[in-house]
Symmetry: none
Subunit: 228 residues, 2 copies
DNA sequence: TTATATTATGACTATTTTGTTACAGAAGCA
DNA sequence: TGCTTCTGTAACAAAATAGTCATAATATAA
């Protein structure tokens, strides 16, 4: 399980506990002690998920979530709320505001990790380490390895990410711009047409086993990964 | 859910809030600070929906709506009023004038989005991503795929949009000009007769499953999608 | 039924979109 | 550093699609 996680928590002890837990589970972490710091960090680099404490000095966690949700760049960032209150009303308010899940303090590291995993699986399946397989075409994110009917093939990092994204989001059209955002990442400025070239390279690699026609051109719209 | 939305609001803070909210929901936006600017923008490119503030400097929002409703090109544009007053009388006046719905300030982004969605679903269903199916003929905008009794068929982008429009607006006659406006887009300069050709191509594609006679010629008027 | 208006159809060309290749610079690696 | 691999871009080729026209077919009204 990869992914950079932003921890927004003002109590250092708790922040550190979470930090250690996540690092042990293979995540990168960034820590912020306040909403302002969080915003600054996010502005600098978009994390793959944010863990936000409900009670924060100054603007509350809810405020932060609202703010993130109203900005295009951060609108789809997976968010988990941390709350000391087991109160149903608060929980609902949090989910209503746009959090993907919440964790009630005190929580076990195990629970936290499980919830993060669940949210990532739902919101950003390409960030999980799950092996994806479709009809002999197999992608193993952990080993960074692709195999066609058992035979390992090599491809460049971009092609790998592209294929992985396709396989974790099959059966729907992705415009070139969407692909750039999702696969190349936030903040990158490359030509739309570059996607075509990587599609070409990916197809070329998949040709050997005939999987190349899983990657379909939808004229005027983009590309789709789907059974031929 | 796609669609371009025009925001007519003189207070920059509110305008920006709305702008962000809509963008995060996948809409394109155009902003106008006054009625005059709004008219200019609309003249340039017809939005799919207009959000109009009740209180505007100079001519009021109501004036703008009246004006839009009395112009053939803009008369069917979905309109949502923004009003600070929860006053029933004003609300009724707004609806009476021709707004499709109204939102009272202060409003939550969630509410705004929900109302926009509702209005679009009612007034411009082809802008939603809902799957449409009629008797084995199925159009899935997300997948960008058409199937006849389960079997995927191919068609060009124009035919796809045409079919999608027909299926989201069945049982009524559309003139060639209306089809050009709705399917090809506002401001395009093509012959009316071009529609015939695309109708022909679409019918040809649907022939295989006999769905072609869902597309009916109404002599002297236009075309209609309806059960044979 | 005939004349007329309207639509259907097929063919053709222009335009748009995508595929493919080559290449130069960047980045990683030993 | 020198080598290899990878990337993005540009240029050209190929393919798909769009729009128009000419002509045939069809419906409608007189």
């Amino acid at each position: 399980m990869a992914g950079t996680i932003l921890i927004v928590e003002d109590e250092p002890a708790i922040a550190e506990l979470i930090d250690l837990t996540l690092k042990r589970n293979g995540h990168q972490t960034i820590c912020a002690g306040s909403v302002e710091e969080a915003i600054r960090l996010i502005d600098h680099a978009l994390p793959d998920l944010a863990l936000i404490d409900w009670m924060l000095p100054g603007a509350s966690g809810i405020e932060l979530i609202k703010r993130l949700r109203s900005n295009k760049r951060t609108q789809s960032m997976p968010i988990i709320m941390l709350t000391a209150k087991a109160d149903e009303a608060d929980k609902l308010a949090g989910l209503d505001t746009g959090a993907d899940d919440y964790v009630t303090k005190p929580f076990s590291p195990k629970e936290l990790v499980a919830r993060i995993k669940a949210v990532l699986r739902r919101r950003a399946p390409q960030l999980t380490d799950d092996i994806v397989e479709t009809n002999g075409l197999r992608v193993d994110p952990t080993q960074h390895r692709v195999s066609l009917n058992g035979e390992t093939v090599h491809m460049g990092p971009s092609e790998f990410r592209l294929l992985h994204f396709f396989m974790t989001h099959p059966e729907r059209v992705h415009t070139r711009t969407q692909l750039l955002d999702q696969v190349w990442g936030d903040h990158v400025f490359v030509e739309d047409r570059t996607v075509d070239v990587h599609i070409r390279r990916l197809r070329q690699t998949l040709e050997r086993s005939g999987h190349d026609d899983y990657i379909q051109t939808i004229r005027g719209a983009g590309y789709r990964f789907s059974k031929p």
